[in-house]
């Protein structure tokens, strides 16, 4: 656990030196948000469409930046050193926490902006926040493992989205559905199945990723 913290800290320091991923996903999401807002206007879209748009913006922003944690190691040829220094599980957890951190940081900026620009209101903040948090966990976990796969292939950028989309679609579907419920309903029970689904998906994908990561990393 301590080792995964070191990996996390290393990635964080490296990130603040170059700010490559952060700039990429932040600017990407802001550009998408502006494009969406500009093209459909503030008041014309219904709450259903807005919650779908929010998740699409978050998903594709994540796709634009989350692969970088492993691609960077391969491109700068630092992967072998990392392989010598610590075990695969801590590397996976460290990279996963870093991606989760990146995604939550992005949401901290983009979600309030989305509320302001799109005139978006939620009835139940608890549902909205838990759906967002659990959804980000699932997205970050799936994306981290696929990033490790993609880092060893050619045509990385396009391949990352292509590989991630079918795997992470349950997050997208129940995230959108949960957000819709958060807009209309005021009891937590209404979103029960969505929250359960997101939680179950996160647990399953993290477990599978921890078991499979060893094979990808030491290939």
């Amino acid at each position: 656990m301590l080792r995964s913290w070191y990996v996390f800290e290393k990635d964080l320091r490296q990130e603040f030196k170059s700010r490559y991923s952060l700039n990429a996903i932040l600017l990407f999401s802001i550009v998408t948000l502006v494009a969406v807002s500009f093209s459909i206007g503030t008041f014309s879209a219904s709450a259903e469409i807005k919650s779908a748009l929010l998740w699409i913006i978050l998903f594709f922003s994540a796709m634009s930046g989350l692969a970088h944690v492993f691609v960077r190691e391969e491109e700068k040829h630092t992967a072998d050193t990392l392989r010598l220094v610590t075990d695969p599980t801590s590397i996976f957890l460290g990279k996963f926490f870093f991606n989760l951190f990146l995604l939550l940081f992005l949401e901290l900026i983009v979600v309030p902006l989305f509320f302001a620009v799109m005139n978006f209101k939620v009835a139940h903040t608890g549902i909205f926040l838990s759906v967002l948090l659990l959804g980000s966990t699932g997205l970050a976990a799936g994306a981290t493992l696929i990033a490790a796969i993609v880092a060893k292939a050619s045509a990385k950028g396009a391949l990352f989205t292509v590989l991630s989309f079918p795997i992470l679609l349950p997050v997208l579907i129940s995230g959108i559905s949960g957000t819709k419920i958060a807009v209309t309903s005021d009891t937590f029970q209404a979103a029960g199945s969505e929250v359960q689904m997101l939680f179950a998906f996160s647990v399953v994908i993290i477990t599978a990723a921890l078991l499979l990561f060893d094979f990808v990393w030491n290939e």
Binding site: L169, S174, M197, L212, F215, V216
Partner: protein, 219 residues
């Protein structure tokens, strides 16, 4: 022996086609288009079976690291892609006459579409990797990861979103009850298609073995 099997299968499939169009009665109150049931369901079943076989062989690859198991997984995936495509097309034709549109994102349509996406992504990943061992390992991992998420599409999403898809086998209390002649036709069609599938798969495995032997003798 093989010739005998081929001739039997040929006659069997001919009888199944004749029975499906001429002998089996129509499902209660519904039109001629219900006859697609005898072809659509076996094909869809083979797509899922193929996916299962490929996941099993991928798991065997990451345990044994024998290149043959990975090539079998690839062959199963290729067959699965063909059968998933056939299931999509036949289902879509049925949806046009029954629901009025070729495509309307019913949960069943969503899940088969995801299956197609996963297969396509699998081959995209394979083509982006050059080194044979790396290709085998990474695509095996992806295949297993994709398989882990399938229960979410098959069981959980249709529960959240109401589906109009008839499930006479999965749901015996449903409205459609099969008559004896329909049941016989359906079961023999299922058996015929499964035999056909395994025959193609065994042929593929033979081909893989021949190729590996050839490569060995060339060295």
């Amino acid at each position: 022996m093989i010739l005998f099997f081929q001739i039997t299968l040929y006659i069997w499939m001919t009888l199944v086609i004749l029975a499906a169009f001429l002998w089996a009665p129509l499902a209660g109150g519904l039109g001629e288009y219900t006859r697609i049931f005898y072809f659509h369901v076996p094909v869809a079943w083979l797509a899922v079976l193929s996916f299962l076989i490929s996941a099993v062989y991928s798991l065997r690859y990451i345990r044994s690291r024998q290149i043959k198991t990975d090539l079998v997984a690839e062959a199963a995936n290729r067959l699965g892609l063909i059968f998933a495509f056939l299931a999509t097309v036949s289902g879509s034709i049925w949806a046009k006459v029954s629901w009025g549109a070729f495509w309307n994102w019913d949960p069943r349509e969503t899940s088969i579409f995801i299956l197609l996406l996963i297969y396509a992504a699998y081959f995209a990943l394979r083509s982006a990797l050059d080194q044979p061992e790396r290709k085998a390992m990474l695509s095996s991992v992806y295949s297993i990861l994709a398989f882990v998420t399938v229960p979410f599409f098959v069981f959980i999403i249709p529960r959240i979103y109401a589906s109009l898809h008839p499930d006479p086998l999965i749901n015996p209390q449903g409205k459609i009850h099969l008559e004896v002649r329909m049941l016989i036709t359906f079961i023999s069609s299922l058996a015929g298609f499964t035999a056909l599938y395994f025959w193609i798969l065994v042929r593929n495995i033979n081909l893989i073995e021949l190729k590996l032997n050839l490569r060995k003798t060339e060295k």
